[in-house]
Symmetry: C2
Subunit: 190 residues, 2 copies
């Protein structure tokens, strides 16, 4: 290292995340990232091969953070606690949460897919997290139980969280009550 770097990879990842969180995938143009970080576009391409590479890195980072918060609870077969854990995670990682949960991933990579290396890393993250999820509901493996658990642990809580996420507000106090009631009235193990 012979010259001190003014910009790190994380600077660009953070900028891309918050731009997507605020204005959707198309808001994260290279020039918008450059403006937000104060870097010229050339410096971004010095760190990343392409725009998809930045978005892919951001996605993997946010996904790893999310699954890292939930996987231990799933392995302990605590479905309710895992669902509730989404709230403090989102409050502690507002940009990551809005980036990951608010916008549709298909729009992120529709123009060009992320580099194969990142795609493989994401595949590993996904299979590891899927294993945790299946461990939580084992021994059931039928489609209905899977869909039910996916709704109770992920999609339901995320739907409850979405209104406050899209307003960049912390989860309201009744969000936790809603999720708890959801699990009380409709247990994962039917």
């Amino acid at each position: 290292m012979v010259r001190t770097a003014r910009f790190t990879e994380d600077d660009f990842i953070e900028a891309a995340m918050s731009l997507v969180a605020e204005g959707g995938p198309t808001a994260a143009t290279m020039q918008a990232i450059a403006r937000r970080t104060g870097a010229p576009t050339g410096s971004i391409y010095h760190r990343f091969d392409s725009r998809s590479a930045i978005l892919g890195a951001a996605w993997n980072s946010a996904y790893a953070s999310f699954t890292g918060a939930l996987a231990p609870l799933l392995h302990q077969r605590q479905a309710r606690e895992a669902a509730l854990a989404i709230l403090p995670w989102a409050e502690a990682n507002p940009r990551r949460a809005a980036f990951l949960l608010l916008h549709d991933p298909v729009s992120l990579f529709e123009d060009s897919p992320p580099p194969p290396t990142q795609r493989q890393a994401l595949d590993r993250l996904e299979t590891a997290f899927d294993a945790a999820f299946r461990a939580c509901i084992a021994p059931a493996t039928d489609d209905e139980t899977l869909a039910r658990a996916r709704f109770l642990i992920f999609d339901g809580p995320i739907a409850i969280l979405r209104p406050s996420l899209s307003r960049a507000l912390p989860p309201p106090p009744h969000a936790a009550r809603l999720i708890a009631d959801l699990h009380a009235g409709m247990p994962v193990a039917a």
Copy 2:
């Protein structure tokens, strides 16, 4: 009328809807709409002032269809039946459902908002539907009850429906059971 029209407004609306349903808002470019309908771009501009006008018309049409299917049930205070009615509606209107429920509306109009006329028409649809929703949960008006009901009637069922919507498949048989269980374990009137 002096020359028979080869393309109608609905041709372009339908094309825009299915393009968005399949590939997100950015997939519905004017050239993509032109390709799908077989029309040159000039013919599209003969029917619509702008791209936002097409997307706005598509949105209003889909929203009107959706609320038209649910509002009567809400006025009869049948929250459970309204939530369940989303399934047959989505099965009967697969393109509209995927267009309306799968993708984030903020990405649709982020570049340029729809024409004021359409915006006002949508406002009217929204206030009318909100009145139906409030009639369903009256006399409660507190935030928690509103959020709870919104989740039970709309966001929850939509989250249950989303996986099959994004695969362009009809709702699986267990979707109705899931929604029914949701309302059985967690009634709107707490």
